[in-house]
Symmetry: C2
Subunit: 457 residues, 2 copies
């Protein structure tokens, strides 16, 4: 698709400049860049944590800095209203809320689908909003991981998020195979931090014929690396493997064109870049080539049954076309409502515009880190096509990471740290900007001085 190429283009005019010289590395520049940002007004649609008492560095009237949308997105202001109107419906109609009002619950699962599909580059028939991430990975593996004696392996990352690793290992065991021989783990080369596409592709050459499923993450949770999803998907399919993606850190962050790229399935959560609240509902993609394949044996339930006679209480399962046919239970209305409030903002912003901004803001963050924190290593690839919003910072072993993190909290700068030694910093383009990055780096520099000073005492 043509807008794919466009959205991956790096725009040096907007953001490359400051990397070369010291130009732009001031708070004033950051403020000016934010003022020029067309998406800036969306920031006002979110609730930022208030500043905490007890700051030593960022004193005076400073807003908090939230760079943690990779973990839990901020609350869109509209969520409270959206939930309130569902509570009103429940209070007013009781069970009749399933059929009454402008947004009857019986079709509530349809309400976020078009917007959700736009975010991941899918057709609406390919997308359902249901359950949660790890649950959906399992539900997708039921039809798409069907190991045989000769083709039984699953390829994942060596440093996959533990839940994914545990999920695939349990699936392998479920089918009577052994992870020791059926789980193929891809890691970076010795001395490198991230995977090379060429290494993934050659592993697919080597392992492909005995591999049933390739299941990687779109954006690596620890390093922030964005994988080459189209190339890997194509190579895996050429080997006859099924392909699924965990898009927890990619959905609402990286440009995605799932329909064009053609994986069999993808799953994601909506509480990170998609701002639907803690533990809220998951998203799921099943490629349209499977949409009418009723023979695909899935774990069945009434909510996946075709709509025409879902309530007729006839028993034989006839799936709805597409991703809807993989639903099991009637959906949690409150979670769907919260997601809906957030997705309206994505519709307003559009993914290409968010990506354009994100590339610039994160490049700025990287330039600031390089200029002001020379001892800090960035694990995330520099190539725009290999990253999303997040940068993962690694500190020397002499830096007490948890103390740094707590000192940042004290200054109302919220990021997260991940074992063993990464600090993850993600300017979410819906609500973050250049000044957030400047404030973060400026505060971190002072905190590192402070911690070093204390260590030297």
């Amino acid at each position: 698709p043509t807008d794919l190429a466009e959205s991956l283009v790096w725009e040096p005019a907007k953001s490359g400049a400051f990397a070369a010289s010291g130009e732009g590395l001031t708070a004033d520049y950051a403020d000016a860049a934010d003022a020029a940002d067309e998406l800036r007004s969306l920031r006002d649609e979110f609730l930022f944590p208030p500043t905490e008492e007890g700051a030593k560095i960022r004193t005076g009237d400073r807003p908090s800095v939230y760079l943690c949308g990779n973990s839990l997105g901020l609350q869109p202001r509209a969520v409270r209203e959206e939930l309130s109107s569902e509570l009103d419906k429940w209070a007013r109609y009781g069970v009749e809320g399933h059929f009454k009002s402008d947004l009857p619950w019986v079709t509530v699962d349809e309400t976020p689908v078009e917007s959700m599909a736009r975010v991941v580059g899918a057709k609406p028939v390919e997308v359902a909003v249901m359950n949660s991430l790890t649950v959906n990975l399992h539900l997708m593996m039921v039809p798409f991981y069907r190991p045989t004696a000769t083709r039984h392996k699953i390829i994942i990352e060596k440093h996959a998020f533990p839940s994914d690793w545990q999920a695939v290992a349990s699936q392998i065991r479920h089918h009577g195979f052994d992870p020791a021989t059926s789980l193929v783990e891809l890691g970076p080369r010795e001395g490198e931090e991230t995977l090379r596409t060429e290494d993934i592709l050659s592993a697919l050459e080597r392992e492909g014929p005995s591999t049933a499923l390739v299941m990687l993450s779109g954006v690596q949770y620890y390093t922030g690396q964005l994988f080459d999803i189209p190339a890997i998907t194509a190579a895996a399919r050429a080997q006859g493997c099924k392909v699924g993606w965990d898009l927890a850190h990619a959905a609402g962050n990286a440009p995605l064109y799932l329909n064009a790229w053609g994986p069999d399935f993808a799953c994601w959560c909506t509480y990170k870049y998609l701002n639907s609240g803690p533990g809220s509902i998951g998203g799921c993609f099943v490629h349209e080539r499977h949409a009418e394949d009723a023979s695909l044996n899935r774990m069945a339930g009434w909510w996946g049954h075709r709509k025409t006679d879902r309530f007729a209480m006839a028993s034989a399962f006839v799936p709805s076309p597409g991703a809807f046919g993989f639903q099991l239970s009637n959906p949690p209305v409150l979670c769907v409502a919260a997601l809906r409030a957030s997705l309206r903002l994505f519709d307003k912003a559009t993914m290409p515009a968010l990506r354009r901004k994100s590339l610039a803001v994160t490049a700025y963050l990287r330039a600031l880190v390089a200029a002001r924190l020379p001892s800090v290593k960035v694990l995330t690839p520099d190539e725009p096509s290999s990253r999303g919003a997040q940068l993962s910072l690694e500190f020397g072993s002499d830096v007490p990471l948890r103390r740094v993190y707590e000192a940042l909290q004290r200054e109302s700068v919220i990021v997260d740290i991940r074992e063993p030694s990464a600090m993850r910093v993600a300017p979410a383009p819906l609500y973050n900007g250049f000044r957030d990055c400047w404030d973060f780096v400026d505060t971190l520099a002072a905190v590192l001085e402070e911690v070093k000073g204390r260590a030297a005492e």
Copy 2:
């Protein structure tokens, strides 16, 4: 357990009397009985739908009648406040809400467990609140339905809720078996409406040796029959079968003693008698004899990993003891919060007291139906030990059920109808009383006259 026997005791002094004579069949009697009800004040904790315009029969200032807690429980007033405080936490802390506040999200899944365990007669280690009902049935079948060539069958009800039927059929297929030969369906005898325990027990004698799993519902959704869970569980286990129960219509309704009765697992939803809101989170029981069995291969995920190193990002799965070890994903905070608000009311009321009231109220409903609607047949067994709150009414084929239902709606009397021909009426003892039953029957009698009159025109 001794209080089991007690809670199943029928108390004629309180409710049997009016069945014999016409005594008690007046609105005044119903009001007096409600006034004497010790649990009456709990009614004020719920939001009843306001009366709609357009009533022809129940004119004047009459409250609505809601007898549909078997389908969707009414909203506890405290839900809004409970949700609001989670939204405040999200707004104030962002991702730090996982660790900050009095109720940090990282342990939010623990908060409803003790109350939930009391409702189903389980130990806390046996209960988790997670996912949704059909999803949980599948997740439980992964370890507890392991068919072999000689023991591959699943026994369910012939008229099981469709989702359950579809779920077990897909599990059978998933393992390469055929529902035509591996699914055993138990139905009532010719001309009877409900199953006889003796027939279930003799089916277990006959089919037991080739049966891997017995999975019935505690209270039948259509007829309202409460099965003899302890006797069936014991007989199935004596045959070497695994036993699971769908308690959708039993949890918060019938007396349950799951720990003592000993099934392998049970699943339920919390949006019916447990009032947690549409599509909200499910509940799950795994008997304590499996609590430490890490070899039980389940679909694994990080939220089921033992808590001590859940976030350490080591990959090998070591389950938490008990039902918690079957969790996959971090829980939806809003759903858990709503459930918590409702379960506080169960703690206040206690299940034995609710059951005592429920037996009396539903007996009164039955007596009213018998006296005033002689042409209406009650499908639900009369024996207190064989029913919960719900009565299922069946009308002659000359009665246009949907029109009756709509006329009741017009009068602000909310019940539900189920294909092919049942009207389900469930006084939920937490918020319904004698007068609700009187109003329902009185209105239905008038509606039936009206409908008959129109048909005769």
